[in-house]
Subunit: 457 residues, 2 copies
Amino acid sequence: MSKDKDIIIIGCGAAGGTAAQFARKTDRKSSITIFEKDKYPQYSKCGLPYAISGKISNFYDLIEFSTEWFKKSKIDLFLETTVEKIDIENKIVIAKKGNAIIEKTYCSLILATGARPLIPPIKNIKKNNTLIGNIFTLRTMDDARKISSSINKGKNATIIGAGLIGLEMADSLYKKGMNVTVIEALPYILPNTLDKDMSNIVFKDISSNVKIFTNHIATKIEDHADIISEVSIKNNETGEEKNIGTDLLVIAAGLKPNISLAKDAGCEIGQTGHISVNRKCETSLKNIYAIGDCTELYDFYTKKSVPIGLGSIAVRQGIASGINAAGGNYILPDGVLQTSTSEFFGLEIAAVGSSVKGLPVVTGKFNGLSLPHYFPGGKPISIKVFVDEKTGKIIAAQAVGDRAAKRIDTFACAILGGMNVETFRKLETAYAPPIAPTLDAETLACDVVSIKLDRKR
Amino acid sequence: MSKDKDIIIIGCGAAGGTAAQFARKTDRKSSITIFEKDKYPQYSKCGLPYAISGKISNFYDLIEFSTEWFKKSKIDLFLETTVEKIDIENKIVIAKKGNAIIEKTYCSLILATGARPLIPPIKNIKKNNTLIGNIFTLRTMDDARKISSSINKGKNATIIGAGLIGLEMADSLYKKGMNVTVIEALPYILPNTLDKDMSNIVFKDISSNVKIFTNHIATKIEDHADIISEVSIKNNETGEEKNIGTDLLVIAAGLKPNISLAKDAGCEIGQTGHISVNRKCETSLKNIYAIGDCTELYDFYTKKSVPIGLGSIAVRQGIASGINAAGGNYILPDGVLQTSTSEFFGLEIAAVGSSVKGLPVVTGKFNGLSLPHYFPGGKPISIKVFVDEKTGKIIAAQAVGDRAAKRIDTFACAILGGMNVETFRKLETAYAPPIAPTLDAETLACDVVSIKLDRKR
């Protein structure tokens, strides 16, 4: 075993675990070590809401690669092990498992330290620096298991945050028979994923299943014997306050990256407060890579820094960093597209591309059906596309409805290829009565943009 | 009404009807006339199998634009009217409705004369130049209604041709409770859509529902009182013969373009025997356009002539020709992609791109699941991608399984954008556990190609 190729990975989430896997594929001989503070090997964090709802019958099903798998792949996985320090000069990682200190040298180091939930400043939310009873975040397997075992303790659940995870949790708790209320500080749901008009389509569709307060923040918790009983919320605009009886509170208000190890080691921290990496997942320090939720890369179109908050990108960074740390050369695309999707209350949503706020864009929207009008069973599909006013290039798209994700993938391909809306609108999409109409909402939304662009010329 | 803009369209199928619609959108004032030999206004031919199966409850539901719609749009639609001659010199179309002769001058003429079913040379298939009882083609509404009313006359149906329409019909008749046999002359089913290995996946999936004889041709019909009773089939390789009891025979063995009017007028006929058109749908004759099943255009990648056999392209040609005939300027992409899809026995299939036979291509195939492994309900999805060995550009793709069509649309976009497989394999596809895995079969098939290309370098 040649010591000059030893790889250490800190974190065994989707990013870290994938990195180990691809490092091993690239180099069959190098020593690969993973330090993970959790007690489980690589599992799907994105799958947690579905284990809570019961769709996935067992939490352990979420484990994607078992400890046995890592052993067989000759990857040394240390669970329940916290890295205390990175000694850059001597290339040593110092970790702690129980009372034991582990020191290990590396040639390449991959930081996959992830992120932790952001706790909003709500009065009485903690006692002795711990969340009071039946208030949870959703980040780890154990978080999910705790939520799961609290479901039968009452009928009313409140969720803070109407982002993707907040609404996935709303659906899960609704499926478990709870009355669910969602509190969102911003004026509309899914503010990081959809525009207001697209968000409103989702709101209308799901608001019969779940009570949603947009423009509201949670201000205070009331408890009985250290168990939550009520949450006070306040209207951001009117200042009006209201109390909501709550037996279970889930906080899904965003993440904070775990960057202290990287910072202490001297890695450059970027504009969004995450570890700066390039297309090869290299940090500012030689032989140190960083991947996943602790990192930021730039947007494909605007070239502005964006935090990596998606499992799909984490996995791709895992591939790149694993290959590169093992001596290969894998370069990610020239920026991230941030293709994302989710499904709740039977409604699929998806989006791709840059945040276009402040950019000179022309938008086109089309509300149609997923099937020809004469064919029974067609479902609503709404597509909104964002086009650079000057170049005519597609820079973003949003979809709500049938097969939204795969429709958005086609836009992702167009953005990655730098495709002009005039080209895309003439795309021959696959047509058959039981599958899709002759002209899909995808291209029809682009026709709307074309007409607007023509008028401007 | 300015006579110098008068538009005549021959044929009111998807191509002709769409042309009229877009001509009217482009020019609110010009006179627009359609001559259609059928007795129905624009209806979906692709929907006919689903009206036979009962999925679409009424044949008339297939009518996409009613005679009232044409009237309201000030489009003169003559049904049951056959065009006898085009007088190029005087720009006159001479048509016949019943005993009446209609002469009409045009400024622009659009030929949307379609195609008719090819009848294979089978002994005794006709009497007095007419197909004998319970033998049908499937092209028109009346064909479909005749098939429909023959279904209850016996249990056994035979279909000649295992292309898209043949298998759609097989599914429809199976759903009506018939025992269905399909005869295909070529060695595997869907020979114009899929490669043999991809076709075999379909074969395995559907052969429990329908009996399929590949490599067989029908040679002879036996009848009782001019009603079919048996069809004799012969193995192309072994010469072995077999009789199949048949109460209903449907011929789905391809089409012959209706080009005699165009030919007589002097329009250039292309290499595939269809009317030659360019990207503006212009024929070789000034002010004469042709669109739909009677035409050929060139393939996007090979630039070789291909017949237009798809409703989706016909509609796009309808848009282009309608706009152009009315004085606009609409140019179709630089060749057709032939994106196609269908669904039978619950299985979705789709394909896009050039026929790659004889071309130096590298292929990659991936058989995966539509969802992450830990998520229940994932369905098989197989993707095969074809890449130019020299340039690395994606030139074709085939898919069988879950959301095959929308997956193929993404490849269609890549082909249209001239995308390299190295770029596409790094595409950020949308991921969420209930919707798609972190790495989709789309990009994983491309990884296979990349590895093969690397080895060749």
